[in-house]
């Protein structure tokens, strides 16, 4: 042991001083989807969008998350929704990011399925990114039936369904 004394040289070995420390972290979890999400995904595996109605305010949530967020009660009443809906608002994604699997630019839209009271984010394809509009009517395009599974990836994307655009007044409360 050398004598204790004040250290004046921080890198006596001649190497550069240590300034960074790598501390990799890996944690494993067993994730539980819960009842509502499980029911929804089992519907998807059968090619259906199944929402849930709040017994208090009667709004239909899709995908359901177990509770009505405004009433704090369980949404237990299942409601099968249409395969078509309305684009309430959207953005054009023009930036690459980690985990992205689609060629840019592409359209991400809030889609309000007919019969639902809340929109969810969906991909719009089969039209140029510049042609998307608020109010555009779209339908879900599914993977071949034998590829349906317990995942939203069973829905490939949404595309225009040919109907005339919805009037702004009909969806403005969902913005």
């Amino acid at each position: 042991m050398s004598d204790p004394g004040t250290i004046t040289d921080s890198g006596s070995s001649g190497e550069a001083p240590v300034t960074m420390l790598a501390t990799p972290i890996r944690l494993d979890y067993q994730y539980t989807a819960g009842l509502s999400q499980s029911r929804f995904l089992q519907g998807i595996a059968q090619g259906k969008f199944i929402g849930q109605r709040c017994p208090a305010c009667h709004k239909v949530y899709v995908p359901p998350r177990g509770s009505c967020p405004t009433d704090g009660v369980a949404t237990t009443d299942p409601v099968e929704l249409s395969n078509s809906g309305t684009v309430t608002t959207y953005c054009v994604v023009n930036v690459p990011f980690q985990g992205q699997s689609i060629e840019i630019p592409y359209i991400c839209a809030q889609i309000l399925l007919d019969g639902a009271n809340i929109a969810f984010m969906g991909l719009i394809q089969e039209l140029p990114a510049t042609d998307v509009r608020m109010g555009m009517r779209v339908e879900a395009v599914w993977l071949p039936k034998d590829q349906w599974g317990l995942t939203m990836a069973s829905v490939k994307y949404f595309r225009p369904n040919g109907e005339p655009d919805a009037d702004y007044e009909t969806f403005k409360e969902y913005l």
Binding site: I25, Y29, Q30, S36, R65, S67, P69, G72
Partner: protein
């Protein structure tokens, strides 16, 4: 330093309702919202109120149990904060959420608050996530597990000559036996300390029985002030004092056999006002101490100066159920419940956080807002 309250008068605030899930080893068919919703429903239904009656909502939880950022955000859907509400969240045990709510109630602008916490320990690797509470440069990189650190504390206690492994087993045996009378407990058995001493070491000197179970659970309480508390509850559990303190983080800079922060918190909560702080001088009917490891109960008893007559952890304590982020608030709930059911007139509840009792909260409760009768006052 003047960490003491700047104002002498404390507004009487009480626990007026409490609800909890049955603590279980693994709740894997409901998500956090689905677990929380019925408990929030019950805590309101018990006293005939709704969320609209609440002046404030505060919760405690940690993202690391869920493995996702912002996990408290979705949990809020179990309450249904619409129209918008005054609401806040601490990344701490729910006992500290209760402290935040109590503080706000002191100002007199609101009269009620909902406090809840949720903790599902089963989906995660608790040993590893709790290592992430440690200094990220010197300690966490060696991944010490919480049992290993609690065992360092246990050995430090043994080295003082104040306790032996047999004392740890006696704490565990009593806790598990008492838990037989707690329908929400997870681990409840009638075993003698000698039987328990045949357990293997998990990390010596801690044998299996000195460890808490891994638990999933949620808990909720309603606080109310003054007349509102009396209107809502026949026997409100009045909070006569509450305080919390933290110690240094570096384990090697602490005396692990003592809990000075518990003592400071107890002083701040007025625990010693009635009876003085001599060893064994504190007489209350019930003490619910958040001691996840059996030796910690002995350290806490000493710090709090509890008399031998005090019923410690009649619920079974954290050795009977220990949902992370919940177990501290649950101690307040269990202590308050003894007052609300008329079986106790005075109680102390304690919550802890961090490695080896680094941070501690003490809450004194009584059947009267003025607290227990003062000796010689």
């Amino acid at each position: 330093m003047s960490a003491a309250a700047g104002r002498a008068t404390v507004r009487p605030v009480a626990v007026v309702s409490a609800a909890q899930t049955k603590s279980v080893r693994r709740e894997d068919h409901r998500n956090e919202v689905e677990m929380l919703m019925p408990v929030v429903t019950d805590v309101f239904a018990n006293i005939g109120v709704t969320k609209a009656d609440m002046g404030f909502v505060c919760s405690g939880s940690t993202d690391y149990l869920v493995g996702a950022p912002f996990s408290f955000v979705m949990a809020l859907d179990a309450v249904g904060v619409w129209p918008p509400m005054r609401e806040s969240h601490v990344e701490m045990d729910g006992a500290w959420a209760l402290y935040e709510a109590w503080t706000l109630l002191q100002e007199g602008e609101i009269d009620t608050a909902l406090v809840y916490s949720f903790g599902r320990s089963s989906p995660s690797q608790l040993d590893r996530i709790l290592a992430l509470q440690l200094d990220p440069y010197y300690m966490a990189p060696m991944w010490p597990d919480p049992v290993a650190l609690a065992a360092l504390q246990a050995q430090a206690l043994i080295d003082t000559g104040k306790a032996t492994e047999k004392d740890f087993a006696a704490v565990a045996a009593r806790s598990r036996r008492d838990a037989l009378r707690n329908p929400n407990a997870q681990v409840a058995k009638d075993q003698s300390p000698d039987d328990l001493l045949r357990d293997d070491y998990v990390v010596a000197p801690l044998r299996r029985h000195a460890l808490p179970p891994i638990t999933d659970g949620v808990v909720a309480v309603v606080l109310a002030a003054e007349d509102r508390a009396r209107d809502l509850c026949e026997r409100p559990a009045w909070i006569t004092g509450i305080d919390h303190r933290i110690e240094a983080h570096a384990l090697g800079a602490r005396d692990l056999a003592q809990s000075p922060s518990t003592r400071l918190a107890a002083q701040g909560a007025g625990v010693f006002d009635a009876s003085g702080d001599a060893p064994g001088a504190v007489h209350v009917d019930v003490a619910e101490l958040h001691a996840p490891f059996a030796p910690q109960e002995l350290i806490l008893r000493e710090a709090l100066g509890l008399a031998d007559s005090v019923a410690v952890n009649p619920s079974g304590g954290a050795l009977a159920a220990n949902a992370l982020m919940v177990a501290g608030l649950l101690r307040i709930v269990e202590a308050a419940s003894r007052i609300m059911d008329g079986s106790a007139r005075s109680a102390i509840a304690h919550a802890t956080s961090g490695p080896c009792l680094q941070q501690n909260l003490v809450c004194a409760l009584a059947a009267e807002p003025s607290g227990p009768a003062r000796k010689g006052a």
